[in-house]
Symmetry: C2
Subunit: 297 residues, 2 copies
């Protein structure tokens, strides 16, 4: 299969749906809606929503069943980037080569745009149209799962520990693993799990897809850490070597570059094994797993 075409096609599907689902730029108050859209349409690769659509299709579901939840996931991911970039947090002026939200709209609007995007995600997932399509009984567990993975025992928790360990002299592997599985891994796992649930998978199917999600979530972050060392600033869209400069907790810092690469490769194998029970419908998930460690940006 042509993964590049697949990613491009579904990236477009997600972009168009996000444009439909988000409040219009001129809805009052316009400033916050402009700020929300600025960051949502800032060139993100839509990794999480595409994974959700792909997981839905892997278990035999129509991707439309997962589309609103996939867009909600992207809104949550975007809110987390806006808040992470704030001066009180990572204090980043640029993201993907564009000024960060607070540099354009000011800190107050950036905080509120993040808050509104997080809220909008839950508004979207609880819409009556969506409930009519997938059933309220199937939708509620998805909302809860996504909430749990985004909250203080998920992504937010990962961000807290990441911040608290920054600049520390000794960071052990358990801490690095906690940060990665929570900060990045949680939303990736929730994405594929939600996709499988919305696509109508049985319990074993959902469990298999979850194992896949856990493995690629971790592989994705290790690959990111490696890219930060080996990639050029142009390729990765931020300063190369910035993790090391900040004393960030990363895999290469704790277990070395060679072992990190080996671990990432192992995780891809685990991810592929988890998909053994699925037919060719799961090929996009398989290709994405392979792509994660091979990508250059």
């Amino acid at each position: 299969m042509d993964l590049k075409a697949y990613l491009k096609n579904y990236g477009k599907v997600v972009d168009e749906a996000l444009d439909r689902f988000l409040p219009a730029e001129n809805d009052l108050p316009a400033s916050v809606h402009r700020a929300m859209r600025y960051s949502v349409f800032a060139g993100g690769k839509r990794v999480r929503p595409i994974l959700m659509l792909a997981a839905c299709e892997a278990v035999g579901g129509d991707h439309q069943l997962a589309l609103p939840a996939a867009c909600a996931m992207e809104m949550i991911h975007t809110y987390s980037l806006i808040h992470d970039d704030l001066p009180a947090m990572d204090d980043d002026d640029f993201r993907r080569g564009r000024p960060t939200n607070h540099k354009v709209f000011g800190e107050a609007i950036a905080i509120l745009a993040g808050d509104a995007l997080l809220t909008e995600a839950f508004i979207l997932m609880s819409s009556p149209d969506y409930a009519a399509k997938v059933g309220a009984g199937r939708l509620l567990p998805v909302i809860r799962e996504i909430g749990l993975c985004a909250g203080s025992r998920g992504m937010v928790g990962g961000q807290v520990v990441d911040m608290e360990s920054e600049g520390k002299m000794e960071i052990d592997l358990a801490t690095v693993q906690y940060i990665h599985t929570h900060k990045t891994g949680a939303l990736i796992k929730a994405s594929v799990k939600a996709g499988a649930t919305l696509g109508g998978a049985d319990e074993q199917g959902i469990a298999a897809i979850s194992r896949y999600g856990e493995a690629i979530g971790l592989a994705f972050q290790i690959a990111d850490d490696i890219l930060d060392i080996e990639g050029t600033t142009e390729e990765i869209g931020k300063d190369a070597g910035s993790d090391e400069a900040r004393g960030k907790a990363t895999y290469p810092a704790v277990m070395g570059l060679a072992d990190s690469k080996r671990r990432a490769q192992e995780l891809v194998e685990i991810a592929l094994e988890a998909l053994a029970r699925f037919d060719a419908s799961a090929d996009p998930l398989r290709e994405i797993a392979r792509y994660i460690v091979a990508r250059k940006s």
Copy 2:
């Protein structure tokens, strides 16, 4: 009826439930969970959750049906206070006589604690136990309504316009009304509407309770504006006259003190009329409406 005892009793019910529903203080990462609990248990009067329980009972429902959603509402209210107090927003050092969240835990944790409380609200409302009790089909519209009232077209929108009009020379009545109905009114209306829905009211019942909520929401804010002028610093727990000093958009600033008092009183009458169809079960709602304009803090 004894409103004071009612508020005290249901305040305790809400406090105990919040303690049960929130992640424990020692759950990892402890810093963010401590920060969440610090602000949730900072002496709030639990106005919104008690209104939700009272609305549920007014339509003949057991208040237990509304308890998780009522706690979720208080989490959303608390997150909004934490973020509003941030240096980039209102920059307040004290709230209810205690140091604000970011003064105790730092700005980064305060931002994340707010994010986590907002997320936790939706986690709580989508719990399988709760869905089993009230039914997924009744729960989803409540989640959506609360989201809409909290997001960019509700509370966050009100905060944006409030911020943007601060210090402006001329603020018209329409803007003040927009700020009040969105920033404070939206969550109050959503509280009673959710209570009525969860209590099993029919459409007319929900509509009547919503009219009540709109009226008292606005009355509540006008009374707050009046208190800011007439109350002592000790009574209201913040600097008296601080709205005027900041050039805040308030009712007294736009229509004068006497007319503001008259308007608040009128709104209480409207609220009571909206409850005409309900029996003595709605007495707590009636007493709360009268109390809103009579209170001294």
